[in-house]
C-alpha cells in the first residue's frame, strides 16, 4: 500500500494490487473503490464549514456522514471536518501528481 497523504487525524492510501483506496479514520480503516472515493470527496467538499461557527445553522458543531451507500456512518467534529477537507484535497493533489509522472 502506498501512503498518499497523512493529515492530523486521518490518512489515505492507494493499493495497486486491489486497484483500490483506503482511508484510515483512526478507529477504522475503510476500503474504497475510486467511485466511492469520488463520492466521499463530493460529500466532504459540500460541507459548509461556516455553519459550524453559527449556532443557528449547526448547533452541535458536528457533521454526520454516511459513506459507501450507507455501509459506514461517521460523526465528525469541526476540527475533524477541517482535517478531512485537507485530507481529500491533498489526496487528489497527490493522485494528480502521480498521473503527471506516470505518463
Amino acid at each position: 500500500m502506498n501512503l498518499l497523504y497523512k493529515s492530523y487525524y486521518f490518512a489515505s492510501y492507494q493499493c495497486d494490487h486491489s486497484r483500490s483506496f483506503y482511508i484510515d479514520f483512526g478507529h477504522k480503516q475503510v476500503k474504497l473503490s475510486f467511485c466511492q472515493l469520488l463520492a466521499i470527496r463530493q460529500k466532504v467538499q459540500a460541507i459548509d464549514l461556516s455553519s459550524h461557527f453559527d449556532k443557528d445553522l449547526n448547533y452541535s458543531g458536528i457533521e454526520i456522514l454516511s459513506l459507501c451507500n450507507r455501509e459506514h456512518l461517521f460523526v465528525f467534529d469541526t476540527l475533524q471536518v477541517i482535517d478531512l477537507k485537507q485530507l481529500l484535497k491533498a489526496t487528489f493533489g497527490v493522485l494528480e501528481l502521480n498521473s503527471l509522472v506516470a505518463h
Binding site: 492507494q14 495497486d16 475510486f34 494528480e96 502521480n98 498521473s99
Partner: protein, 170 residues
C-alpha cells in the same frame, strides 16, 4: 505507483466538478424558462409560452448531455437541486432581456470550463464542450433577434400581439 485514477476516469476530476456545476445551471435555466412559460400563458401570449416550453425542454436536454458525459467517462454526475425561481415579471420584454442575460451567464460559464480543460490538457472534455460553445452563440443570437423586435415595434397592445405571433416562427 499505478495511475489507478486515470484507469478509472477519462476526464479531469476538477473539470468534472465544473461540469457538475454546469448541470445545476442547465437545470436552473430549464426551471426559469418554465416559469416564464407560465407567465406568458397567464398573460395571453400563447406563442411566447410555447417558445419557453420548448426552451425549457432544450435546457433539460443540455443537462442530460453533460450528465451522461460525466457518467460515461467514469465520473459521477449529481442530480441537481433547483431553487430560487422567480415568477414575477413586468413585461414580455423584461422576460426576454432576463433570458438573454441568463444565456450570457451560461456562455461565460461554458467558456470558463473550456479554459480549465486547456489548462489541465483535458482535450476530450474540451472537444465535448465545443458543441455547447456553438449552441450558446445560436441561443444568444436568437434572443437578440427577438429583443430587436421590441426595439422596432414597441411594446403597446397591438405590437405585443404581433411580436407574440412572430415568436411562433422562432
Amino acid at each position: 505507483m499505478k495511475d489507478i485514477v486515470r484507469q478509472k476516469i477519462g476526464i479531469n476530476v476538477d473539470v468534472m466538478d465544473l461540469l457538475n456545476e454546469q448541470i445545476s445551471k442547465e437545470a436552473h435555466s430549464a426551471a426559469v424558462y418554465l416559469a416564464m412559460a407560465s407567465w406568458c400563458d397567464h398573460n395571453g401570449l400563447v406563442y411566447s409560452a410555447e417558445f419557453f416550453y420548448k426552451q425549457s425542454a432544450e435546457e433539460r436536454e443540455h443537462m442530460l448531455k453533460i450528465f451522461k458525459f460525466i457518467n460515461e467517462n467514469g465520473g459521477t454526475a449529481y442530480s441537481p437541486e433547483v431553487s430560487n425561481i422567480n415568477h414575477e415579471y413586468n413585461s414580455l420584454q423584461e422576460i426576454f432581456e432576463t433570458a438573454l442575460d441568463q444565456e450570457i451567464q451560461i456562455t461565460k460559464s461554458i467558456n470558463n470550463i473550456v479554459t480549465k480543460c486547456r489548462k489541465v490538457q483535458d482535450y476530450g472534455s474540451e472537444n465535448f464542450l465545443q458543441w455547447f460553445v456553438k449552441e450558446q452563440m445560436e441561443e444568444e443570437n436568437q434572443f437578440r433577434r427577438i429583443l430587436e423586435m421590441f426595439d422596432l415595434m414597441g411594446t403597446d397592445g397591438i405590437a405585443l400581439k404581433l411580436i407574440d405571433e412572430r415568436i411562433k416562427h422562432e
